[in-house]
């Protein structure tokens, strides 16, 4: 078990290098650079001033040298400073990270709480009317573009009905509330973004749960469990579910990057003060250090998520634990 985890941990380093390298190259391949954004179209800025600015940010050096310089700083946990306001990238991310984590953890919890029971009950009642209705709902969910769904949510529940706030997390007036009301206000702001962020995953995970459970229910050991005279409830929740969850745990590990990259979209739509929006704005402004910082932290989160799912997998499957 310890070796299993150690091996997974060791794999993280090369993956992180690969991810950062690709991010770095892709970003530099995009036409334009930080100087063109602010000064390129400004006739008052001379070419030599631009060149000097480029030199200041090492932008005149070849891309691979730039990458190595960046990596050298990163080795000392120095993400550099933002081109825009010269504040440390780390500080900017730390400010934004809690909001992103809050959104993603809530979305993941909602997905699991709803998708797993839907999947299990559809598998148990395979072919019934309930199963068919669920299948239709799930397919609609799967086919709906999430950004569009988010906008519809805003229009219907934010504008027309006015039940939920359409943007932000902590409005300015929150400091005047009691702590209990602050929490309530926070939850109130969370509703629409969490619904939007969990919607797509809901469909996928419930589908996977169903097909995995169907597969498991056909297995010989389920017949053995029934032959022992166990009640159906025990057969499903004790014998079938633990086996049926195995593939779901793996898929969850891979669903995490989806959620985090989804954050870029939802946080922008809902004006959510999270890391995703920070990254999006940085990309639009060629703020290389911030883009790289957000990229590294997001991939770290993803890799840690996959690590957790690997550990969970071993936890439920003794065949992996005792190798």
């Amino acid at each position: 078990m310890v070796r299993y985890i150690a091996k997974r941990l060791l794999l993280i380093a090369p993956m992180l290098i690969g991810i950062s390298l690709i991010t770095f190259i892709v970003m530099h391949l995009a036409p334009g650079d930080p100087t063109s954004m602010r000064y390129g179209l400004n006739p008052e800025v001379s070419g030599s001033a631009r060149a000097e600015l480029k030199k200041l940010y090492d932008l005149d050096k070849p891309v691979h040298i730039q990458y190595l310089l960046w990596a050298k700083r990163l080795a000392r946990f120095d993400f550099g400073n933002s081109f825009l306001d010269d504040r440390p990238v780390m500080q900017k991310i730390v400010e934004r990270l809690p909001a992103t984590l809050l959104l993603n953890v809530c979305a993941l919890a909602v997905i699991l709480l709803i998708a797993l029971p839907i999947g299990v009950s559809s598998a148990v009642r395979h072919g019934s009317l309930y199963d068919k209705v669920m299948t239709i709902i799930v397919f609609i969910g799967y086919a709906t573009p999430t950004f569009w769904f988010a906008l519809i949510l805003m229009v219907v529940f934010g504008f027309m009905l006015g039940w939920f706030p359409i943007s932000g997390l902590r409005p300015w007036y929150i400091e005047y509330y009691s702590s209990g009301r602050q929490v309530a206000d926070l939850l109130w702001h969370l509703v629409l973004p969490v619904v939007a962020a969990s919607f797509g995953g809901l469909a996928g995970i419930s589908r996977y749960t169903k097909s995995s459970m169907l597969e498991v229910l056909r297995q010989d050991y389920i017949r053995t469990a029934r032959a022992k005279g166990l009640p159906e409830r025990k057969v499903i929740y004790k014998h079938a579910l633990r086996n049926g969850l195995l593939p779901i745990v793996t898929i969850l590990g891979f669903a995490l990057p989806g959620l985090i990259s989804g954050s870029f979209i939802f946080e922008t739509i809902f004006a959510w003060p999270g890391m995703g929006r920070l990254g999006y704005e940085a990309i639009m402004q060629y703020d290389y250090p911030v883009v790289m910082g957000v990229g590294v932290i997001a991939s770290m989160m993803t890799l840690i998520g996959i690590l957790i799912s690997d550990i969970l997998y071993a936890f439920i499957d003794p065949r992996i634990r005792y190798k």
Partner: protein
């Protein structure tokens, strides 16, 4: 108490597939007396396993028990409510399956899988159930019962797993045990060990059992009575001693001849042809295309089971 423990009357189990109806079990009769071991024998696909599963009503879609009676200890199991049937499974009838690996749950400890039935059926405490499991593991000749309780199925060898499977079926001391090819998936040496064990258990516990196998030589070692099935029907039913001496149905004879013997000097004998498609059975006697004794009426009419002798029934025009 009547002598008969299990009586199957005219049982039909059909599978409704998209290609047509498969009559896996098509009107079989069978009796298991108390303390008796009945060997249910036939080639793969003749409906032996489906018969076993029909008894405890574990036929899954698209299969359905169409008609017949399964009278166990005075009750017709096919008419029982689900909850009563659940109590019969495990408590009244235990079952041992063919594949010892796939029929154990890979993610649960052996101890858990052994004790759960006792805990559910008898509301025993976990400690009590564990004590019973240890005693039974000892009974099925597992060397280190304590470690085995904590092990997962993949940590045991094939023979050990099947011993666990047998212990699992015996946990609630059922009146009848269904063995569905319990030795087929095992090596020959392991197989003989398991057969020895079953012989011992039978004497010690006075087990009544239905032993399903395609291997007549295995059935010969255990069964008091042999029931031969072909294409969903019983073709011969007689005492083991009699049938091995003088098989009456040409199919039984063919099966017996196919057991390799020393006199054969390495030549393998087999029954010509192959098992018919259950969806497309030949008219008349389903065995006639492969039968060395066939005559014209075999192609038109199927003989009923008839008495050939005291306690000996056979389904063939030619068998006297």
């Amino acid at each position: 108490m009547s002598k008969t423990l299990l009586e199957i009357k005219g049982l039909k189990t059909h599978f409704y597939t998209s290609r047509g109806v498969v009559k896996a079990v098509d009107g079989i009769d069978l009796i298991v007396k108390r303390g008796e071991t009945v060997g249910l024998v036939g080639e793969s696909g003749c409906g032996k396993t489906v018969t076993g599963l029909s008894i405890i009503r574990l036929i899954s879609e698209p299969g359905r028990i169409v008609e017949g009676k399964v009278i166990f200890d005075g009750d017709d199991l096919l008419g029982l409510k689900k909850e009563r049937m659940r109590k019969i499974r495990g408590e009244g009838i235990g079952m041992v399956f063919q594949e010892p690996l796939t029929s154990l749950n890979p993610v649960l400890r052996i101890g858990d899988q052994l004790t759960e039935a006792v805990i559910v059926h008898r509301k025993s405490s976990a400690i009590e159930a564990e004590r019973e499991a240890l005693a039974l593991l000892d009974e099925v000749k597992i060397d280190s019962p304590k470690q085995t309780l904590w092990a997962y199925p993949h940590q045991l060898s094939g023979g050990m797993r099947q011993r666990v499977g047998i212990a699992m079926a015996l946990m609630l001391k059922p009146k009848l045990v269904l063995f569905d090819e319990p030795t087929t998936a095992l090596d020959v040496t392991v197989q003989s060990g398991i057969l020895q064990l079953l012989k011992g258990l039978r004497q010690k516990m006075g087990l009544s059992s239905l032993f399903i196998t395609h291997d007549l030589s295995v059935a010969a070692q255990l069964a008091d009575r042999i029931v031969v099935m072909y294409a969903g029907k019983v073709v011969e039913d007689a005492k083991a001693g009699d049938i091995f001496k003088k098989p009456r149905h040409p199919y039984t004879k063919g099966l017996l001849d196919s057991i390799p013997k020393r006199e054969d000097k390495g030549r393998l004998r087999s029954i010509a042809g192959s098992v018919p498609d259950l969806m497309n059975l030949p008219k008349g006697c389903p065995f006639h295309p492969r039968c060395p004794l066939k005559e014209s009426r075999c192609e038109k009419e199927l003989q009923d089971m008839r008495r050939a002798e005291e306690d000996w029934r056979v389904r063939c025009w030619k068998a006297a």
